[in-house]
């Protein structure tokens, strides 16, 4: 079984999605058939998660080599292989994906009224494709999964989204596609230089500095849009606001991580000199993201937009951690920086997913995301308020929650590089607390603001389960990050070594 674990993680959800589509849609969301579909979706996603635990238990934390490798020729004529494998960078992200998807299925349970089969099918297929991106070790296979993944998300936002969903989803697809097309050109160039699409071949291939710079820029465009980095970030607030809750959760929790993953899997090892050359720019952009976006988040009136901007700021930390590698005098700081970035990715996935789910809970009841329409929710929904405050604190980086671990590691590492980096990075602690806590204060605390709030019902069992599981996860990673960090350690050391070498 472990021989084909990765393939299972990719194709099982996709098969489940196809089965759901074949079962046909029923617009009567309460019918027995619709119910059966939901249980099928849940069963498939939970089964996938259970299989992914095998990635953790079977993982060898002492080696940086690829594990669970599968390799078979796919398109022999152009030397493309179906080549899968995970290491300390991808395994946690795959587990995060399979963990979040069942929660999203539960969250969308009876909220989705129109075409539920297509909704759940889209998420399952999306999950399979995302697992594919994280496991692919052949450049073209990576690209195929990378682009294909946009289609289900495009449909999710466009069909089940809010009022401006068409604008938001077209912006999302076209913007991301524009970024990725140049990555394809870079891939083909590397293919012609090395003769294959094998990522490891590319990592070993000697490349001149000029070529490396261009390839880095091509990769940068694709990944920067995905992360998203300032200034190519404006698609994210629109996409998050207009997407249905489940869509926002997957978008924030997983899809943003693809950008960060792309940097560590592709940019750093394949074009280390190019990355080194542009590291200063990347650090500057990351810090701008942290500070600029922090200020912008402060003034948002729509809760989802606020959390979206806060996501961008948190991802700024991720890219900061990855690119301070070359500014270190010693080696240990570099590893810490990348580790911090990776932990931040996992933690942010959990926290922002949870925050979007919280906003979704409120939206399901009052059908508004505006802060002004709420006030004193703690009076009528105390259990929910407790969860929301917990996740908000985690978002602000409270020690004990997962939000703190990644931020702390990155700030310490960036201090070793340059105290000014740490200074600007640490402003997130102030700004993050400012915008999150201000939102919490206006929404949760105070007097009951209007009759909508007065009529609120507290969490039902389904919502409680979802938020409860996420709360446990956030606290677990925050209090005991060791299993996560151990998984990544050796791989990151190897990565830092690769990033430090000169290839021309």
């Amino acid at each position: 079984m472990s021989d084909y674990l990765l393939s299972t993680l990719i194709w099982l959800p996709i098969a489940g999605g196809v089965v759901l589509l074949a079962m046909g849609d029923d617009n009567d969301a309460a019918s027995a058939r619709a119910n059966a579909m939901r249980w099928v979706a849940l069963a498939v996603s939970v089964l996938t998660f259970i299989f992914s635990i095998g990635l953790y238990t079977g993982f060898d934390t002492t080696t940086a080599a690829m594990q669970f490798v599968e390799r078979a020729p796919w398109v022999d004529a152009i030397d493309v292989w179906y080549y899968l494998g995970v290491d300390g960078l991808s395994a946690p992200l795959i587990i995060l994906t399979t963990f979040i998807t069942p929660l999203v299925v539960i969250a969308g349970w009876d909220v989705i009224r129109t075409r539920p089969a297509q909704y759940f099918a889209a998420f399952l297929i999306l999950e399979g494709l995302m697992n594919g991106v994280f496991s692919a070790l052949d450049g073209l296979l990576f690209y195929v999964f990378w682009e294909a993944m946009l289609v289900p998300m495009f449909l999710i936002i466009g069909v089940w989204g809010g009022a401006r969903r068409v604008y938001a989803t077209l912006k999302f697809f076209l913007y991301t596609f524009l970024g990725s097309v140049l990555m394809l050109v870079a891939f083909i160039y590397l293919y012609r230089v090395t003769g294959s699409f094998d990522l490891f071949g590319w990592m070993d291939a000697p490349l001149g500095l000029g070529a490396q710079k261009l390839i880095f820029i091509a990769f940068l465009l694709a990944f920067a849009v995905k992360v998203p980095m300032w200034p190519v970030h404006t698609w994210l607030p629109d996409a998050h606001v207009e997407a249905p809750t489940g869509g926002s959760v997957i978008l924030a929790a997983i899809m943003l991580k693809m950008g960060g993953y792309g940097f560590v899997r592709l940019s750093l090892p394949i074009v280390p000199d190019g990355s080194n050359y542009f590291a200063g720019m990347m650090i500057a952009l990351s810090l701008i993201a942290v500070v600029y976006i922090g200020f912008v988040a402060l003034m948002q009136k729509d809760m989802k937009k606020l959390i979206a901007y806060s996501s961008i700021a948190h991802m700024g930390f991720v890219t900061l951690g990855f690119f301070i590698v070359w500014h270190m005098a010693g080696g240990s700081g570099a590893v810490l920086g990348v580790q911090g970035g990776m932990v931040q990715m996992v933690s942010h996935g959990l926290i922002s997913g949870a925050m979007f789910l919280c906003v979704g809970v409120l939206y399901d009841r009052v059908h508004s995301r505006q802060i002004a329409d709420y006030g004193g929710v703690a009076n009528t929904m105390p259990v929910f308020a407790a969860f929301m405050v917990l996740f908000s604190m985690a978002n602000a980086g409270l020690p004990g929650t997962s939000g703190f671990v990644g931020e702390f590691m990155v700030i310490v590492a960036s201090f070793k590089a340059n105290p000014w980096f740490a200074f600007f990075a640490a402003t997130t602690l102030i700004l993050g607390a400012a915008y999150t806590l201000w939102m919490v204060k206006r929404v949760i605390y105070g007097e009951v603001a209007n009759e909508n709030v007065a009529a609120l019902q507290d969490l039902n069992r389904r919502e409680f389960i979802v938020l409860g599981i996420l709360a446990i996860a956030v606290l677990l990673v925050g209090l005991w990050p060791a299993p996560l960090v151990d998984m990544m350690n050796v791989t990151i050391e190897h990565l830092v070594e690769q990033a430090g070498q000169t290839k021309f």
Binding site: P231, H233, T234, W235, Y292, F295, L298, M299, Q300, L431
Partner: protein, 198 residues
């Protein structure tokens, strides 16, 4: 105070009074017994490690003569009398002559406000930093993100392409002679290029 407020004042229940007593009396005495072991003894053991040249407490310990000496010395320090003066002033202003505080406030208005408003630090934070932060946030959001990045760069390019499409489609005039003419022009360009550049 009026009767209404007075009626709200009552002695605390024993659940509160008893712990207060249990805390108050030892708090008077505990310093006597703990000051030497904690500050100059080995109470903390190896938990706190102080660098050799920076051991401030050790220097202080050279002048330590026991709690009784500390107690007796206190009467000679100005700090002690300053604290007593505070006590006396408070008794005077609020028990002996309760009319005075209002007069002081009238005479030294500015000083009163300065102290009442905590050296205006709250105003600095709320109207200064926080408002400044909010203004920057609004500026960066409206002018930076919404107007420039989204409006000019993103939507601007998209709209430009759309407008260009709207203009270019008129090339397809619908008239046959236009189409034929385009072909002739194309051919002429070919021939011209061949003659002059090859």
């Amino acid at each position: 105070m009026d009767r209404e407020t007075r009626s709200h004042l009552h002695e605390t229940p024993w659940v509160v009074t008893l712990p207060l007593v249990m805390l108050a009396i030892p708090s008077l005495l505990i310093g006597w017994f703990t000051v030497e072991p904690v500050l100059f003894g080995g109470f903390f053991g190896d938990s706190i490690v102080v660098d050799q040249g920076r051991d401030v407490l050790a220097r202080m310990g050279e002048h330590w003569h026991g709690p009784m000496a500390l107690f007796l010395h206190a009467w000679q320090t100005p700090v002690f009398w300053l604290a007593i003066a505070g006590l006396v002033t408070a008794w005077f202003l609020y028990l002996k002559r309760p009319d005075l505080p209002a007069a002081v406030r009238e005479k030294a208005d500015g000083l009163y406000n300065l102290l009442d408003r905590k050296y205006y630090f709250d105003d600095l934070y709320i109207k200064g930093f926080a408002a400044w932060g909010r203004n920057i946030g609004t500026f960066l959001w409206k002018r930076g993100d919404q107007f420039f990045i989204d409006g000019v760069l993103v939507n601007g390019t998209a709209n430009s392409v759309g407008k260009l499409a709207g203009v270019m489609r008129h090339l397809q005039s619908g008239y046959l002679y236009t189409y034929a003419f385009a072909m002739i022009i194309g051919l002429t360009m070919f021939l011209g290029w061949l003659i002059w550049f090859r």
